[in-house]
Symmetry: C2
Subunit: 222 residues, 2 copies
């Protein structure tokens, strides 16, 4: 992938988890100085998209959740061909329309991707697309029961991230950064990954089995 | 701060480092379910703002750097009163106009803030505002010489973050997450900070003196 432009697509939707997207993209933003990249931020329409979840997807709170607003570059209908697709999670995935649209886009695009990456509950939509059937994957540990509702996938409970073929899935939110570090080390070079992490002053967890959060959130499943 | 709304402002500008802003905001987004917050994203104008740095601020590269586009909610002129102001860094700080505008806004607002937070090279602008004179602070280690150009500040070279009075400054990019964890633990509660980090599946560095990156980037200064 070093001599051609890598076409990276990232799906966003109302209520995406900011760090699910921004953690991996900080790596790719920096990588794009060394390797040629084209980035598409893909949403339902070209309207701006907020990380504030749709009201009905939020756990009860008397306060208004704050959030940030991003602009997409493409829609599900006009996104260009992609080499890598990143599917984030977040409370927005609990909206049925959002869930189904992202699932449908992921299913349609998977056959022409080189790599599919998911962070957090993004893997629920990858699973719903049927492309994880009989394969290993992981997901957010705080919301682990949402993953195991899908019995077609071999869910790995204690994992920072999981690779099965060309599908990479990480655990919740911050785990996306460690998955991205490992992805860049594998697909580009370990020296480049190390250099990017040092520039970010980020110390990655490099063991995919490192995962204190499964015990923290699922003591009954031990 | 638990009974009133905390008014949080975050400055953005062309070429802000995505994770400088998104790391701390992932914490504050989640905190806003537990404590009432109001967020202002503040820029020069209401136009969208990209993380792609202005061309002349970028180290030479034959490739086009990719980036993401955010929408501000306020301008430097109409931003509301704030309790907390977060000033990020990034290559955009190397543009003189951007640098001076953020410095000027920070200087104007500091007297009415409860807390001022900077991430990465954001501290260069806080320093230029004169409010770090004779005080301790830290900054990005990859670009450490930019900080030490300002002789009025007691720069701390080996620090993940530094607190002096009501001014918190972190080292580069990812260090902003650890500073934010410590800030929330101090100003709100350590239990809440721990809960947010567990939900983010983030293991914070809780020792402000933990800093392998100073040695990595400044071997001659050891």
């Amino acid at each position: 992938m070093t001599e051609t432009i890598t076409r990276l697509g990232v799906v966003i939707f109302p209520g995406f988890a900011l760090l699910d997207v921004a953690g991996p993209l900080q790596f790719f933003n920096q990588l794009s100085v060394i390797e040629p990249f084209k980035l598409s931020i893909i949403a339902r329409t070209m309207d701006s998209v907020s990380t504030v979840p749709p009201k009905h997807t939020m756990p009860e709170s008397k306060f208004c959740r704050i959030g940030e607003t991003w602009l997409p570059t493409h829609t599900f209908n006009n996104a260009p061909e992609l080499d890598i697709l990143l599917v984030p999670g977040g409370l927005g995935t609990r909206d049925e329309i959002i869930f189904n649209e992202v699932t449908s886009f992921t299913k349609k695009r998977y056959p022409t991707l080189k790599y599919l990456l998911s962070v957090c509950t993004g893997s629920l939509m990858v699973a719903a697309a049927g492309i994880l059937n009989g394969r290993k994957a992981t997901s957010n540990k705080y919301a682990w029961s949402l993953a195991t509702n899908n019995k077609d996938v071999d869910w790995v409970p204690k994992a920072r991230w999981v690779v099965d073929g060309n599908i990479w899935s990480s655990s919740g939110v911050a785990a996306g950064m460690d998955m991205t570090y490992a992805f860049i080390a594998t697909v580009f070079s370990s020296d480049i990954a190390k250099q990017l992490a040092n520039m970010m002053e980020y110390e990655p967890h490099t063991n995919p089995e490192w995962d204190p959060f499964f015990e923290i959130w699922n003591p009954s499943s031990k």
